[in-house]
Each structure stands twice: as C-alpha cells, then as structure tokens.
C-alpha cells in the first residue's frame, strides 16, 4: 500500500482511540455545563483521581481489571457528589464564585493526590495481550478496540439512562427548566449532584481506559483535561452529541497533524480549533449556544 495511505489509516485508528477518551471527558464537561451552567475546572483533576483509584485497585491491590474499573467509576461518582455538596452554598451567588470553587477543588485534588499517592506515578500494564494484529501493513492494537468499545457502550448506556428512565428524564427536565422543576417539587440539588456524579464517573472511565496507554501520574490531568475541554467546545459546548463528535474530531486532528509535524502537533491542532470556532462559534454540531447565564 502507498505509505501515505498507510500513515493516514494508521493515524485514523490512533485518533479514534484517543478521540474516544476525549469524548468521555468532554461529555462530563458538557453535562455539567448543561445542567448547572457551570464550567467545571476540577474535571481534569477528577479524571486523574479516577484513574488513580482504578489503578490502585488494579496494580497495587491486584484486583481484576473489570472490578477495578467498576470501583473507580463508583467511587469517583461519589467524589462528584461530594464536589456538588461543597459547591452548593455557592450556588446562590454569582456563577463566578462557583467556577472559582471548582478551580480551588481542582487544586486541592491535585495536591491531595500527590500527598496520598506520591509524585512518581504508577505504570499500568495492559489488562489483555496487546500484540497488534497486522492488516495490510496497518497495525491494530487490541487494546485500542477495548477503549473504543467500552467508550461506545458507556455512551449508549448513558443515552438510555437519560431518555428511558424516570430519574434520567428528571435530570434532563431540571437541566432545561430549573424553575419549573422546582415548582413541581423536584429536588434540583439532587439532580445536579447526580449530573456531577455521572460526569465524574465518565472522567474516571476515561482515566481508567487510558491508564495502560499512558502512565498514571498527578500531572496527567493537564493535557487530557484541556484537550477534553477543547473537544467539548469544538463539538458545541453543552451538547451531548457535540461532545462525542468533538472528541473524535479532536483526537483524529491531533494525530494527523502529529504525523506531519510532530513537535508542533498540539500548537497546530489548537490553531485549527480556533479557526473552526471563528467560522462556527456554536461548534461542529451547531446546536444553539446553551445560555444559562
């Protein structure tokens, strides 16, 4: 095969793998923004804590990967609930206070994880045999399929939950019509807590999936946190399909640029990102800008 075609296809595969991770992170940002009008600056740190929780079970305590995964999701969801409880007193003040609050919580989480788990980080082995399959010169790592598959399942489950269950519908209702929901006697605070919990669980899922590819360390929050945020905006901030599309597009974009000019890949990916937003400020999916302010 033409080497250019091979490189293109190979980077598409790599891009979809990383893109799935960004999509999960972006979903968390968008859900919280949609329901509370809040940009959760602690999201990247929650992603890192989720990765750590899973890794501690999987690597340090030799738990089965699937069980470690489930525990990471549950415990990080709990952390999301706690974050919402901490933020609740700020809810009635200007939104800026809450954003600052999330920033502060993020810094606390960052420092706490250094104190608890040390600055060094943990290397995570692949949970399955990752010898790549070769198809016409293109290699497909089995673990990449795991990432994409699990991410897809999680997204489908989330959609079903939000559209088919009573509590999911209640969450959507309170996100869209806060005052009406309050008037109907719904516990909007609880709904917000649930939203943060689910967003955090999604971040933990991303962290746990990416752990074996990356290295689980306190500074992993920065790059994925920022790229996931960028992906959410690229797709259309606050939109769920937008988060998924944005994540995949950003992941592929980053890979394609990196095969051409490797040292500048992040810079160029972000330049393209800005250019897209100049021409289409509402993001790729193009939903009207969700204005909660």
């Amino acid at each position: 095969m033409n080497p250019h075609v091979t490189i293109l296809l190979q980077s598409l595969i790599g891009g979809i793998g990383m893109g799935s991770i960004y999509a999960l992170v972006a979903l968390g940002y968008s859900m919280v923004y949609r329901s509370m009008g809040l940009v959760n600056f602690a999201h990247g740190n929650i992603f890192m804590v989720g990765a750590y929780i899973g890794t501690v079970f999987y690597v340090s305590m030799h738990t089965n990967f699937v069980l470690a995964f489930a525990l990471a999701l549950l415990l990080t969801a709990g952390l999301g609930m706690i974050v919402q409880k901490i933020l609740r007193p700020l809810e009635k003040m200007d939104l800026i206070y809450m954003m600052l609050g999330t920033l502060g919580i993020g810094i606390v989480l960052q420092n706490l994880s250094i104190i608890i788990w040390g600055p060094d980080g943990i290397a995570v082995p692949f949970p399955i045999n990752n010898t790549p399959w070769m198809v016409k010169g293109i290699s497909i790592a089995p673990y990449t399929l795991v990432i994409v598959g699990v991410a897809a399942l999680i997204v489908i489950a989330l959609q079903l939950f939000l559209n088919r269950t009573k509590i999911g519908l209640a969450m959507r209702a309170s996100a869209q019509e806060r005052d009406m929901s309050l008037a109907l006697g719904m516990n909007v605070g609880l709904m917000n807590g649930l939203t943060l919990a689910i967003g955090s669980a999604l971040a933990a899922c991303a962290g746990m999936l990416v752990g074996p590819v990356f290295y689980v360390s306190p500074d992993m929050s920065t790059s994925v946190g920022i790229n996931g945020f960028a992906a959410a905006i690229l797709g259309g901030f606050g939109s769920m399909p937008g988060a998924i599309v944005g994540g995949l597009v950003f992941g592929i974009l980053e890979q394609l640029v990196a095969t051409q000019v490797s040292a500048w890949s992040e810079v160029i990916a972000f330049v393209i990102f800005v250019v897209v937003l100049i021409f289409k400020p509402s993001g790729i999916v193009g939903e009207r800008v969700v204005d909660k302010l």
């Binding site: 606390v108 600055p119 290699s139 290295y215 394609l256």
Partner: protein, 397 residues
C-alpha cells in the same frame, strides 16, 4: 442567573463566609504549589542548626514528572552525608542539607538558586536535570558556589562556568559509545530516532545523530515530541513506515518507557536503544518487562552486582531506603562523596573557590567509574553498554 431559588435559606453572612473560606483554601493551595520547598537534614533542621554546621544546598525535582530524578539524587546525597556525619562530620562540624524542590521547572529552580545564595551554602547539589541546571548556571557562578549536576546536556559545561561539575558522562560520550556498538559492532544501518524537545532530549538527539554521522549514517526517521506528551502513536506511525532495525529513544525515563510500550503496540519490532534512562528500573517498569527485554543502553553503572563496592553500596542503600539501588543513586552518591571530600580537603577555607580548586585536584575512584575533572567540570569520559536479559540488566561487552 439563579436568583429565583425558593430555597433561599442561607443568610447573607453564610454566603460571604463560604466565599472567604473558599478563596482562603484557594490561596493557600496556590502558594503551597508555588513554594513547596522543604528543608531536611539528618537529625536537626536547618533553621535550628548551629552556626557551626556546614550547609550544602540541594535543588531537584521532588514532585512532578521528573520527581524520581530528584528523589534519587537526594537519596544518594543523603547517604554520603549521613556517612560523614556518623564519623563526626567534617573536622568535627556537622554537614546539613538545605533541600529545595524545583518541580523540574526552570523558573522555580531559579528561585531556589537565589534562596541558596541568600542562605550562604558553601556548595550545592544542583540539579539532576539539564534544563534546570542551565537555568541556574549563572546564578551559582556569580555567587561562586560550586555545584554538582547530573544533567547530561553537553552544553552545560560549555557556558563558561568554573563552578559546575558533572558527576556523570555527558550525552556525547553515552551516545558515541552506543552508536559505536549498534552500528560498529552489530552492523545496524536503518536507525530511527525519537527524542523530546527538552534540553536533555535535544542533547541526546544531537549527540546520537552526530555519532551516527561519524559512521556515515543518517536516521531513516527523526521525530521530536514534547517532554510532557503521553501519546506517541502519530510519531511512531511515521517511524514504522520507515521500517527501522533500531529505534533510538532520547527522552527521560517515563517517556522512554511509554514510547517503547506504544511502539510495540503499533507493531514496531525494531531493537530499542537509549542512554542512561534506559538503564533504570523506572524504564523497565513503565515499558513492562516484555517490552524492555533486549533494550540496549549506555550507562556508567550497569548493575549492583558489578563488584564488591557496588554490592556493599546496594546493601547499605536497601537497608536505608528499602529499595533496590540503581545507576542514578550510585551516581549521586559518587558526586556527593567527591563534594564532601573536596570540602574536607579545603578545610578550614570552605569557600566556593577553595572547594572548587580541591574538586579539580581530585582523583576519585567511585561506584560508577574513575573521575578526574577538567577545567570545564567534566570528570567522566567512558560509558558501558548493557542490556536486559530475563528482566535483569547485564553488561554486553
């Protein structure tokens, strides 16, 4: 805005209070981030130490991605200092360490260096990393504080500082030894290079490529990544298309391990080679034993079983820190022993210039080899080649 909330039960004061508490947390954590410096000595703290103590400064990354480098350096130094203090110190005066964390960040390192100058340390262990060493070179030079670095960037000793001493070989030596082995001995011709854009990575890249050039070879693919990158599949895809026999990785330990791991996941079967970072357990641990197997590396210290001295050192280290010693700790221990010996010989004139002169006069036989410093502060001019067999490092020559 969320004005029309019927559950407005919080009195105004509570809101203000919450705001204050929150901003206080924020400020305190922010400042904790900025100046997470710790002072540690064996026994007494620097602040309460007597004026008779001899104070040595230390700067290194104790947190962040490069924390392992700072920790190793710190442990090697601590071992040497504790040994001297256990024997009554230097001419009866106890040696204390003022330890500062630079987080691997050059601007923090500059702050730390200025602090050491203010605190009038007689010499310093700074730093275990090229970028931060280059950042503080001039400050310590002007203050005439001799300092030991283990950054391997060849540029460090070319900046005209008379006070910097390297306790290991530089990248040129490691990479020439490596290229001579891989090209000269093994007869490899198709070599791909991946390095990072930090000072160490750039030094490794330039040194290895110029060593290849001496053999009449240029890399079949030459990729650069950032020091904090985590995903390398794009660069590795390009490398894979060049079908190399050998993949040279010029980055620090963790990044090197990740690159090796991701290269294998992409189906790259090339032999992995690298400098000193490839000789560490962190690399093996990050890459995984299966991936690390067969990696060829250039180092000054292959294994703890090399001779009676290294065995004794490894046993003492294990007893003190509960971990298996590696090349970095051995190197730091050598560097610290030389510094302490120079201070001892300069006594009672323990000022920068005298200590520097004594360092230049030393003929030191250490765990990592023999040192004799030249005017630029280079003291080690050979490296050894090793590999991993059944997960254990062993010499190749």
């Amino acid at each position: 805005m969320l004005h029309n909330n019927p559950k407005k039960s919080y009195p105004q004061r509570k809101k203000v209070l919450a705001g204050i508490v929150l901003s206080a947390t924020l400020v305190s954590t922010l400042t904790a981030c900025g100046s997470s410096s710790t002072s540690s000595t064996s026994g007494s703290s620097v602040a309460s130490g007597s004026s008779q103590d001899i104070k040595i400064g230390e700067i290194g990354a104790m947190s962040g991605n490069l924390a392992s480098l700072g920790t190793w350096d710190s442990q090697g130094l601590q071992m040497a200092v504790d040994e001297v203090n256990a024997k009554g110190g230097i001419h009866g005066r106890k040696v204390v360490i003022e330890k500062l964390d630079d987080q691997g960040n050059p601007s923090v390192a500059v702050n730390d260096a200025n602090k050491l100058v203010n605190d009038k340390v007689v010499a310093a262990f700074a730093t275990p990393e090229s970028t931060t060493t280059l950042a503080i070179l001039n400050i310590l030079k002007q203050a005439k504080i001799p300092h030991i670095t283990s950054g391997q960037d060849p540029e460090i000793t070319k900046k005209g500082s008379l006070f910097v001493f390297r306790d290991t070989a530089n990248s040129l030596i490691f990479d020439k030894t490596l290229a001579d082995y891989v090209v000269g001995k093994m007869g490899m011709k198709k070599i791909a290079v991946i390095s990072n854009s930090g000072a160490y990575g750039k030094g490794e890249h330039d040194a290895f490529v110029s060593a290849l050039k001496a053999h009449g070879i240029s890399p079949v693919s030459d990729q650069v990544v950032t020091p904090d990158a985590k995903d390398f599949s794009a660069q590795l895809t390009t490398i894979k298309e060049a079908h190399p026999q050998v993949l040279f990785i010029g980055t620090e330990e963790i990044e090197m391990g990740l690159i090796a791991k991701q290269a294998r996941a992409l189906g790259i079967t090339a032999r992995i080679v690298g400098g000193q970072p490839a000789a560490t357990p962190i690399y093996v641990n990050t890459a995984g034993k299966a991936v690390a197997e067969g990696t060829i590396f250039a180092t000054t210290y292959i294994s703890n079983d090399a001779n009676a001295e290294t065995k004794a050192f490894a046993a003492a280290y294990k007893k003190k820190f509960g971990q298996v010693a590696d090349s970095h700790v051995a190197k730091a221990y050598d560097g610290a022993k030389m510094l302490l010996e120079a201070i001892d010989k300069a006594y009672p004139n323990i000022d920068g210039t005298h200590i520097r002169d004594e360092l230049l006069k030393l003929n030191y036989h250490g765990l990592t080899g023999d040192f004799k410093f030249n005017d630029q502060g280079e003291g080690m001019f050979t490296a050894q080649i090793g590999t991993y067999k059944n997960g254990q490092p062993e010499p190749l020559q």
